[in-house]
Each structure stands twice: as C-alpha cells, then as structure tokens.
Symmetry: C2
Subunit: 315 residues, 2 copies
Amino acid sequence: MTISIDQKNDLEMVITSENPPTFNLATYLKTQQAAVEAALEGAIAVVYPEKIYEAMRYSLLAGGKRLRPILCLATCELMGGSSIMAMPTACSLEMIHTMSLIHDDLPAMDNDDYRRGKLTNHKVYGEDIAILAGDGLLAYAFEFIAAQTQGVAADKVLKVIAHLGRAVGAAGLVGGQVVDLESEGNPDVTLETLTYIHRHKTGALLESSVVCGAILAGASDTDLARLSRYSQNIGLAFQIIDDVLDITATQEELGKTAGKDLQAQKATYPSFWGIEESKRQADQLITEAKAELAPFGAAADPLIALADYITARKN
Amino acid sequence: MTISIDQKNDLEMVITSENPPTFNLATYLKTQQAAVEAALEGAIAVVYPEKIYEAMRYSLLAGGKRLRPILCLATCELMGGSSIMAMPTACSLEMIHTMSLIHDDLPAMDNDDYRRGKLTNHKVYGEDIAILAGDGLLAYAFEFIAAQTQGVAADKVLKVIAHLGRAVGAAGLVGGQVVDLESEGNPDVTLETLTYIHRHKTGALLESSVVCGAILAGASDTDLARLSRYSQNIGLAFQIIDDVLDITATQEELGKTAGKDLQAQKATYPSFWGIEESKRQADQLITEAKAELAPFGAAADPLIALADYITARKN
C-alpha cells in the first residue's frame, strides 16, 4: 500500500529537480504505475468468501492506465504533499473507476463481453457476483480512504470523501450514465446533452482525482479552482479522444469492442463535428488546461505531460 | 435533516427522565420514525436528471421500520450525544440498507417483484436505473456523513465511515450475500454457514448502526465492545425471526412475497431447529443482548425495548 523508498526517491528526482533536462513522461508513468499496482495489489487480500475478493481483484488488477491514481498523486505532490499521503485516495479512485466499469458492462447496461482485453467481470463470475463486486469495491473505496490515509488532518480526509462521493453519485458519474442510457438510440441528442453526459460520466471522477490530491496536500481555494478547471478540460478532451478512437482504432488497440458507438447509434463528438474538428477541439481544451498550470512553473511538468498524453494516446 | 425542537424535547423527556413511569416504545418509535422520515425526505432533492433521483427516493421513502437509523440515534443519545450529531449517519444507514434491498431484488439476484408492499425498483424504473440508483445511494451515503455531520470531531466521523464501509463491503453485507447466493439450493448448508450469512448479510449493518451511534458520541472502547455484542445478538435474533415470519406470516403482513425461502429451498433457522426452537433461540439472544445493557441503567430503556420489539414484530 506504500511505495518503496527506492521508487519514492526515483519519483522525487523526477518531480522536484529544479530544472529538469526534459521531463520524461514514459519513465514517470512507469514508476507511478508500478507504485499504484503495488498498492492496489496489497489493498485487497483473498479471504473467505474467496469468490467475491477474487472477482474484485480480477477487474481491479486487470491493468489499465491508472490515470486517475496518477493524477491524484501528481497533484498532491505538486501542491507540496507526498505520494504516501495520497496513495490510499489514489487506490480508491481506481476502485471506484473499476466499479463503474463492472456495472457499465452488465447485460442490463452496455452489455459488454470484453474490457481491457479480458472477459468482463460478469462473463467470468456471473451477473450476481459482478453486481456485488462493484458494490464491494465502492464501499471499500470509502473505507480505505478513511482507515488508511496517513499524515493528513482528519477534516481534509472528510473533504476528500465528500468530494469523491459527489463525483460518483447521481450528481456525477451515476447521473452521467443515466443521461447516456436515456440518450441511446435518440437521434435528437444535442451537443449540450452529450457534453453533460461526458462532464459527469467521465469528467467528474477525473476532476475529483486532481482536486482530491490537492485537498490532501492542503491547497488553497484559488489553487483548487485552477486545478479543477485544468481537470475538467482534460476530462472532456479525454472523452472526445475516446469517441475518436472508437472510430479510428482497432479492437486490438482498444482491448474492447471497437465501433460500438456507431453500432449503438450513440451520439458522439465526431458525429457532431467529424473526426478532424473533434481532434482540434480536444487540442484546444488541452491548451487551455495547460494554461491553468502556468503559475506553478516547472513543478507542473507531470500534469502538463499527462494532459498531452491524453490527446496523443492510442487506446 | 434535523428534527424539530418539539420532537427533540419529547424525545429527551422519554430518554433522560431519571425514573420513567413506563417506557413507551410505541410513542418513541413514532417520534423517531417521524424525525428520520423528515430527514430522509430532505436529504435528496429531485434535480436533472430527474429519473435517478426519483428512483433513489422511490425506494428510500417507501416506508420501512427505520430500525437502523433509530438504533443509531438511540445509541448516540445513550452515550451522551445528541440526535443532531447522529442524524446524517442515521440517514446514511437507511440509504445503504435501501441500496442493498434494490440490488438484492434484481433479476440476477433474488428476482423479487415486491418489497414493502410496492413494486421493486427495477420493476418500476428498469434494471439499469435500479443498479445505478443503488450505486447512487451507496456513494451518497458516504458523502452525506462526510459533508453533513455537525458537532463531532472529524477523526470520529472518519472512524464511522471506516466502520460503515467495512459493514457494507465484502467483509460484511456483500460477503454475506455472496455466501447466501452460493448456498441456494444446496441441501448440505451447515448451521455454521447459515450463521455466517446472517451475521454478515443482516448483522453487520445492524451492528454498525449501534456502534457508529456510539462512536459519534465518543463512547469508550469498553462501551463500544458492550454495544457491539448487544447489536450482534439482536442482529442474529432479527434474522431468526425473519426466517420464522417467512413461514408463519402472510404476504399482506410482510409486504413482500411470503414462503420464498421454502420455495427456493433455502436453509433457514426453522429448517434446522423447527419454529418453536427458533423462537426460543431468538429469545435467548435477546436476553443476552439486554444483559449487556445492565450497566447503563434506565437510560438504556429505548435499546432494551427495541431488542424486545425485534422478537415481537409481525413483519
């Protein structure tokens, strides 16, 4: 659940170096992903009744970019905190993200058979266990932050829990998913509705990843507002690129069924703007996101590189 | 979310009177239920996207005994706290309980059409919305405690969140539900397994209701242990009586399909012990539960009456 001293030193070297020759995102991601994987691996032990813990671990440890935990760690460190302070929250963000994927994939929802190149949770464990594995991950996420966070004042941890709860619930992710389901097969979905969906379904948790990292480090309200705008922009850009990739990438690249949006007659950004304009809009959002980080100087290099990474990614 | 001054005075009169003529449980329940209903009613407003808030409210405000919130309020007051301190946690306990009912009723789980005399959530809103309504209630429960609790030190609120998270997750309610599902139609289920199911599926949240109320009031570890044993005993008694009522009560009395356990060939306490011995075991557990409260004197009258109420209830 904590990263090793060696990993931590590597990390600090990368981040705090006053004038880094060039910020190496690949190395940074590799280091941070390894730290997150180790923490997630240690977060859930398999005990009786084994099946539920195995189902939770199956989806939680199925790879993935770990973008939310890494954003949380990076922001906490940018604001003067340590990765140790943020690691329980970082893990919880991934638990919540995983819960949303497990439930989204259910037959009653998106009915997906593959996720991250593997069979979806309910295809392996059955629908009943998949529902419960999601519930278990969601409950554990809040328990984990409350019980495991160290070196942070209790009132700040409560603020994180409240922010995260809101990001997941009907005012966030769940609400976005509801509007998404309602809009399916509706040819009259507006750009406004599409943006509502994504600002909530994907955006809210990404924003919470960044803002919670900053809360843990004791960031000022001004900095929290700045980082909130940064994360809202990259969240929306992330989704625009996701829509583009659904059209342009292969199933092998995505690790999930490609072309599903077209097949489901879902409104997407490319369906409003076409592919090129969608990419341009995503680039514009990323430029604005990075502009918010200007006051932080070189210390914001990881968050700047992460913003660029979102538009450059292939899956 | 707060109870009115009048209700509060009534309550204090009932509870703190040094030598109450007789503790009137019916009046107490009526007062507390009204306070909880008002707080739950105010906890969730209907905003866009309306459907999810309506679905959450549909099941949350469908009546029910409000046993968990009332146990939480009563214990907080017994330990010297106020109902205002405990009301957000009390509401969250009901949100979590409601989430578990919505998900349990799904076709992939127990496949129930009626609950508390009304159509189940998925029969009204569809399976997809029912899954999301449960997720929304679970996330909101934690947000609500973190954001709304007043007059309690932040570290105690964190302790409540950690306790409650554990009570809901794989180590509690979810784990109990998994073993319950695995045991269905299995003629070799042992009494030990049956007790595991109920100590987790029903017992963990009831225990958390009592213990969290006491944590909020700043109870000592000795008192927490005592109240934990009290609540574990009433939790198990509650389930034994539930099994008995499934056989002896009518659908009208229960507000849900009667005789389901027999039909599903589920192991129940009456299937091991018969109805009379099951009732005797429940009585014994209640006697032991009440013995734990002896050191608290007359102040524990509400918890003593609630313990008796559990074995005497008809639905």
